[in-house]
Symmetry: none
DNA sequence: AGTAAACGTGAATCGTTGA
DNA sequence: CTCAACGATTCACGTTTAC
């Protein structure tokens, strides 16, 4: 965790020392006057000085500088993620190409609950864009193909991702109840980026650390992290937040091996969304069988019948010595007070979110 | 339908003669060698000469030229749509901003049936990006808000659209059964763009006409169209296709009525026409506030905030202590049996009379 | 206590017309 | 040109308050 200007700090790092950069730079929103909701309440936009640029040329210079410094810090086979909106993402994408980066995908974060367009003058701005890029056309970047497939119902992960905004308990508030940072990103989003393109032990760097979402998820996933933030206040919040994060107890669970068999449901989404954590112990209702959750959505368990590894259905079946098993109703988690709940409850929660 | 170079042709058009440009330019895909499916069949990509550019600078020049020519042809209050992928959309978006266009939305076409990523090295590229831009920040572009809302189950239309690829009957094949054009777009996509940002009778121009999807949909929707295409073969296909399109028999059905466009009805007209009488008591829905109608069309009311006199809007705002209020929907009258109806109902009655 | 209604809010480039 | 008046406009959730 370093407080300071990200360009200076990154240029001071040893060249080629970082496996992945995740950047959430200022979007240069160029907001006009106040925007009122139909009920006349005022929308709190991003009004901080750090999002103010004199003109497009100034923003382009800023973008080129931090991208070049990221390039210096990145390993040759490392990769970079940037998130943005239509205000800035075209400037960022062009600069990436100009600097020699090789674009791998643009990824769409579709929001389940975006802010509406209150004046009815445009389409509801319901998504943000991420760019995933390697350092060069020839680079041998890492892609956890099987893990991504497993996280998506055993279908190839697509370039459009659905997540809710960061609200509720996850959203960090200050003592007065105001949001600590205007643009905090959901951990589920970072989870997918980090799982997709790094391995445990890799170094993840975030030049616009804010309240430290990248660091929190990196720690949870057993990756090392470097956070750079200019504002002391944000850095302080980030430090406290990350200190409270539990690392996965068993590092083995964080690996996403190359081959696996199919689960019938996207169990992995529960993990991405933080409804279950890697390392969590699941058990059947009578507590005769137990298994551990792995980061890529597979279970691991052992009993007198042997060692078991696979989908929630496969492990449930194997441990009972049965030909098949519905893992969603078989496996339970501890909901506090020693109360057991089927993991299907969590699936319903996610399903409810997706109903938009 | 014009055969030739789109820059030359557009620069030859009268300045400001076009309401909307829809452009599907070459994507500059930079494909490497052949791509084989797992069964070793070869994927037919875009291999035509028109998608080959020497380098990024050449592509940028090309982009700037056709965008500038489009700008020349566009009316000041016209708008432009471009579709692209991550290979070219960042160049296009930056060029648009550099040329003074004002971005309104980026819109994601999510494909229901994208081509899988056969190599398993990236996310399935399951979307394309459209940019919707006005000619300037101050331009008064057209947006069919109500039409878009009604096309989306009475919820605001979002920036992510779901459509299948153009396949089956809609996909034009040549005599040998090969696809006539490698990147034919679905008509549903054009339908939404044209409906959203033009009115019947408007002129829609497509500088990369291909097999004429834009013209076919424009004709179907009662819009005029101009198509520019360099390749004779494509132009021929487009002409035959559009000739077979039926225009809507009833032009009335093509209009998307907007509340904004209705003529203004002063509140006083209701009194003049005897729909309300001087002295009538109006109240809000919860009957918390009441006011009296004056013969001159002003309202009078009193509450703990003081005595109020003015327009329906002013008094509604003042009595609620709000900065503004739509009096038409706020105030209600007694329609008999103690039933309350908004005075907007009476305005609709007058509007209907005016339409005869 | 339990259910229902009300309230708050999120990276937002969010008017038009006539005097 | 500016200024004032008109009047059009919201979805999904989590949290709080009311009944």
């Amino acid at each position: 965790m370093l407080v300071g200007d990200c360009v200076t700090v990154m240029n001071g790092l040893p060249a080629g020392s970082v496996d992945m950069v995740f950047a959430d730079p200022p979007y240069n929103l160029q907001l006009g006057g106040d925007l009122l909701r139909p009920n006349h309440s005022r929308v709190e936009g991003v009004e901080e000085d750090w999002d103010k640029f004199a003109d497009l040329a100034t923003y382009d210079r800023f973008t080129r500088d931090w991208l070049a410094a990221s390039r210096h810090a990145l390993k040759d086979d490392g990769c970079l993620w940037v998130i943005g909106s239509y205000h800035n993402i075209f400037r960022v994408g062009s600069a990436l190409q100009d600097l020699g980066f090789w674009l791998l995908n643009d990824v769409i974060w579709r929001k389940t609950n975006p802010m509406p367009n209150f004046r009815g003058r445009r389409f509801t701005n319901a998504h943000e864009t991420l760019i995933w890029a390697a350092k060069s056309k020839e680079a041998r970047y890492h892609f956890a193909y099987e893990a991504m497939k497993s996280l998506n119902d055993d279908l190839q992960m697509r370039s459009d991702w659905l997540f809710p905004l960061c609200t509720g308990q996850e959203r960090i508030k200050d003592a007065d109840g105001n949001k600590a940072h205007p643009t905090q990103k959901p951990e589920a989003l970072l989870y997918r980026c980090i799982m997709a393109s790094t391995e445990p032990g890799d170094v993840v760097l975030d030049p616009f650390f804010g309240t430290g979402t990248t660091g929190a998820v990196a720690k949870r996933l057993g990756r090392s992290w470097i956070g750079i933030e200019r504002e002391h206040q944000y850095a302080q919040v980030a430090n406290a937040r990350i200190a409270a994060v539990q690392e996965a107890p068993n590092k083995e669970l964080l690996y996403a091996p190359a081959k696996r068999q199919a689960p019938r449901v996207p169990f992995g989404w529960l993990i991405e969304r933080g409804l279950l954590n890697p390392g969590t112990v699941l058990s059947d209702q009578r507590r005769k069988h137990t298994a551990h959750v792995r980061a890529d959505g597979m279970l691991i368990g052992s009993n007198h019948l042997g060692d078991h590894c696979g989908s929630i259905h496969q492990v449930g079946a194997a441990m009972q010595g049965l030909p098949a098993c519905n893992g969603w109703t078989f496996w339970h988690f501890d909901a506090g007070n020693g109360e057991q709940r089927p993991i299907d409850m969590l699936r319903q929660k996610v399903l409810a979110e997706l109903h938009c």
